[in-house]
Subunit: 288 residues, 2 copies
């Protein structure tokens, strides 16, 4: 028998619950804590969870693994409030998109009786809430773990096993600094770009009639959860500004080439980007 | 009986041929001119075209509609060389991604006996060549026509009918200036961004392990045909630089908000971008 508790049945937590259910293991029970009664009711009716509570009564005390699907600020608060409620030896993990500041701030707060392994599923969705939770979003996606010295090897292995079991393709272990540097580039910078792009449109000119998949793809993530992302940007300010400046350099070089009608320079940049994208696609297909 | 000639059986011309075949009309024959014999052979074997020539012998003389799937420079050259070969009363159309300069430069070159209606299918693909031609890419896509005073109303209607028949959702008539202004924003700026983004990566740091769909989506079009796009950027330089500067303003505002940890400003920009993206999705589902 093993109990897995999901804290926060939103789009991410809900997807975990559904993915665990979709790839079942005998004797595993899925428990959930979520303030919204309707959400719990729905998840119970759908058979996605076995038990739910709007605030912790007895779930944390039984949970062998706790997956906390909360925003960074709420996560910190949750740990403080519940530090004495966790089961001895439990594995805790989060899903937060920044790690450096978070790991540092939580250092003192993590109770002795648990093993907190920081994690980040690279499978976000633009829509919030359990209604959009979907086991499919994890299929083939990347997962990052940022272990600390305190983590036990066997717990890391158990968590990795669970992650690949529910559909993720690749689990990468990385330190918090490298995590934040990479996420600043692959995720946060992309969101800055998408938001800036769609906000630079003139809403009066009927743009929708003139779009192809380029614009559709580049603005998809402009639909963004404002409080979560401003938290993430501020927590990862230094790395994000670095990524922004790296992008600006390339962007300015291209702008200059256009101004000067320097087709040689443009073509060289296009060849480089083409080569990189083809390489990315090939590497992305590999397992590790 | 009606003959449609496709000039250039690349990814775009080939998709036209396949889409016409997929949505057949009785008595319509599909003819093709392409310098590559293998391509013609393959298209004939697949039953996609009825007749092919590596250079024009008798195809243009029979064609009631000529779809020219060539890059702008090659298109201009083709019209000059073949001005006396077209059938009296034929409708000609192109697929070029810029219109202003092109329409101006071709003004004097279009032979009297034909009706040239400039067009732009908003359904590009990153891969080149007939091997990647696919009728599906047109399904639900936008199509832009930039009629001139010389175009006959009945020919415009015939062409519109053909376009919607082969899967396009929406045909918009627009003047060349507006076309180029909009395309600078919805297509060219997006390509500048995607290329700059992937080129600002450090190729040594194993980025592929840290990507989610954001980065995949934002770099898809970084795989780019270098000679075509440098032509397009230079032909549409003024409008593209305008779009670039509009984007830069928003990007700088966001950068400043991050530097100053101004979460109120960030959240306001996120709310605006979210609203715009939701509106775009809703409008994109409509027919017109």
């Amino acid at each position: 028998m093993r109990n897995i508790a999901i804290v926060g049945l939103g789009v991410v937590g809900g997807s975990f619950a559904k993915a665990l259910r979709k790839h079942p293991v005998e004797g595993e029970r899925i428990l959930a804590i979520d303030p919204d009664e309707e959400t719990l009711k729905k998840a119970l009716e759908e058979g996605v969870i076995d038990e739910g509570e709007t605030s912790n009564q007895r779930i944390l005390q039984q949970a062998d693994i706790v997956i906390i699907g909360l925003y960074p600020l709420a996560l910190k608060e949750f740990i403080k409030v519940h530090r004495d409620d966790f089961k001895e030896g439990a594995i805790l993990t989060d899903v937060a998109g920044v790690k450096g500041v978070l790991v540092e701030q939580l250092m003192e707060e993590i109770p002795e009786q648990v093993d907190f392994i920081y994690g980040h599923p690279m499978a976000g969705r633009e829509n919030r809430g359990y209604a959009y939770a979907d086991a499919e979003v994890f299929e083939g996606a990347n997962y990052l773990l940022t272990p600390t010295e305190k983590n036990k090897k066997e717990n890391l292995e158990r968590l990795e096993k669970l992650i690949t079991r529910i559909g993720f393709k690749r689990v990468t272990l990385v330190n918090p600094k490298k995590h934040d540097e990479m996420i600043a580039f692959t995720s946060q910078l992309c969101h800055v770009i998408a938001v800036s792009l769609i906000n630079s449109d003139d809403p009066e000119r009927g743009t929708v009639k003139f779009i192809g998949d380029s614009y559709r793809d580049l603005t998809r993530i402009a639909k963004i959860n404002e409080s979560l992302w401003s938290e993430l940007f501020i927590e990862n300010k230094v790395e994000l500004l670095d990524a922004i400046e790296g992008f600006e350099k390339q962007f300015q070089t291209m702008k200059k080439a256009i101004q000067e009608e320097d087709s040689e320079q443009m073509e060289s940049m296009f060849r480089e980007s083409t080569k990189r994208r083809i390489q990315l696609e090939a590497d992305d297909k590999k397992k590790r």
